[in-house]
Homo-oligomer: 328 residues x 2
């Protein structure tokens, strides 16, 4: 029994941003969507109150048929509990699914943001195989922005791992002689390939090489400490050699990590999202070449851009909500 | 409807050895088992004739309810086709499932040997969680003998990958400055951690260090070119320092690869089989320490010995045969 007037509620606890949206079952456009920047004085209870207000405003007097949730931190998806937030204190061991089910009187499903974004791309975005109007069997989603995160969809389902710790491609090693990562090891993909890593490496090279990086220096107004990953990407595209070197090294490290993941899991497709993936064709070429050279010849290299820019977690939350109804 | 007199046929095309066994449905002992060393003049058609003769001898006038097959080479499991054999020429693109179904008049399922061994350990061996009389949710099986191979069981099923190329942990990189592998890259886990790699490294060190490796030299009768991985393992256990160094380096490379796999997939358990895993407690300690140091603190390190020594592929074939019946 499918009621076409049913509404799904999607929530994305993004750390710096709270997003909520509603969509009619089976439709691929938002009925309503709203975003709210988090306040500076961050706290779990306050954040949850903001999110509930956002959701109630969207819903009005309508009741959702099911709720899907993307959360920025590790989640015990089987029990619907947040383990902790990467951004906001006070979320430790929170029964978020139970809270939402009680608040809205509807079944809910909660998972980690990289996993939910992977499911969103799989279900509604880059996971679709257009020629055959079907989906790939497996997909690795990698988000490359301030950090590097990842999520797996295998056989149509999120693969969380045994302890909600799968998909940590950012902490596979690309170069054991690389810089020290916050995790205590050297040369993780994240410390070599993220936006933060790109900015830091560019700053180092600008300081070490006073005669190089003319365009990048101009763009940052000679305020080397203000250099961002986006500035490096932009000047690399317009031909700044120092910026190109930094971007190439970052792309090579990311491609190495993706190659390792392909060698181990042979996914049908790898989907890359996040700000750094807007860096232009040269960056993509180096990522693909590096992945190719870190796999066996029989391994397929199918690395494509994400279909969504910001909404992958929200659409993934819709897919979670649909699966809750199906499994009831 | 379960008929307790039903018989399953398990076949293992192992390259140097052909094995066939039959078991009654639900029983955990062989009704009959037979093995046949492959002849030197290897050929797919001859090998298949030998295997069929072996199976018919075991079955007598009984008809199997289903057939499970472990094959030493890449397999297109979805279509039951052998892609090629790693050991025997002439197997290229063979419809093995169709051949067996026609020969025995029973449904069959075929997969790659590392995958089938993983399923065998998962279903009947190291995948069992004894305290709770249930199974783990996910398992990486790694075989460490002349080469290093791997297979995944995720959510109770073999994960083949999109092109039957998943589980190639032997060709993830442990050390980019390591020796050249047959795959064309440097420092693959296989070229650093396999029995072949251990023997080769020991030979090198014995030649370079005339005063070292006393016990290993004695064991091989000063025939350095005759040194095997098993000899290195044995003398490492009895205290030969050169042999210990070789074994430690090999264990460290293997642990590094396992750590990468854990970081990416967070399996509930990692199961190690193959001759090199008989190398003693020191080897296991170094493997576990190396895996631990190549993961995040939140990643579980649960690395245990395989329950079967030789029969994992045959028991996995029984599990495949059972799944054929269930899915009918």
């Amino acid at each position: 029994m499918t009621r076409t007037d049913e509404i799904f509620l999607a929530l994305d606890y993004g750390g710096t941003k709270l997003s909520a949206a509603i969509a009619r079952r089976g439709e691929r456009e938002w009925l309503a969507i709203d975003r709210h920047m988090s306040r500076r004085e961050k706290d779990a209870r306050y954040e949850q109150a903001e999110m509930l207000a956002l959701a109630h405003k969207l819903l009005g007097d309508r009741k959702p048929a099911a709720i899907g949730v993307s959360f920025g931190g590790p989640v015990d998806a089987a029990h619907g509990r947040v383990i902790l937030s990467h951004h906001v204190p006070g979320w430790e061991d929170t029964p978020l699914r139970a809270q939402l089910q009680s608040e809205f009187g509807a079944p809910a499903s909660v998972d980690n943001d990289a996993n939910v974004a992977a499911l969103g791309e799989y279900t509604f975005g880059a996971g679709l195989v257009e020629t055959f109007a079907k989906r790939v069997t497996s997909l690795l989603y990698v988000t490359v922005s301030t950090g590097v995160g990842g999520g797996w969809v295998i056989g149509g389902k999120i693969w969380n791992g045994a302890d909600a710790m799968a998909g940590e491609i950012g902490h596979t090693i690309a170069d054991r002689n690389g810089p020290l990562c916050v995790c205590g090891r050297h040369g993780c993909v994240e410390i070599m390939a993220s936006g933060t890593a790109i900015a830091n490496r560019a700053k180092e090279l600008l300081k070490e090489n006073p005669g190089k990086g003319k365009e990048l220096r101009e763009l940052c107004g000679n305020q080397i400490d203000q250099v961002t990953g986006a500035m490096v990407a932009q000047t690399a595209n317009s031909g700044d050699e120092l910026a190109q070197q930094v971007m190439d090294d970052a792309a090579r490290a990311l491609g190495f990590g993706i190659g390792t993941a392909i060698t181990l899991m042979n996914p049908e497709r790898v989907v890359l999202g996040g700000g750094i993936t807007k860096s232009g064709e040269r960056w993509w070429s180096v990522v693909r070449e590096s992945a190719r050279s870190n796999t066996l010849p029989q391994h397929r290299i199918n690395i494509i851009p994400a279909a969504f820019s910001d909404d992958a977690p929200l659409w993934g939350a819709i897919a979670l909500a649909e699966s809750v109804i199906k499994n009831q």
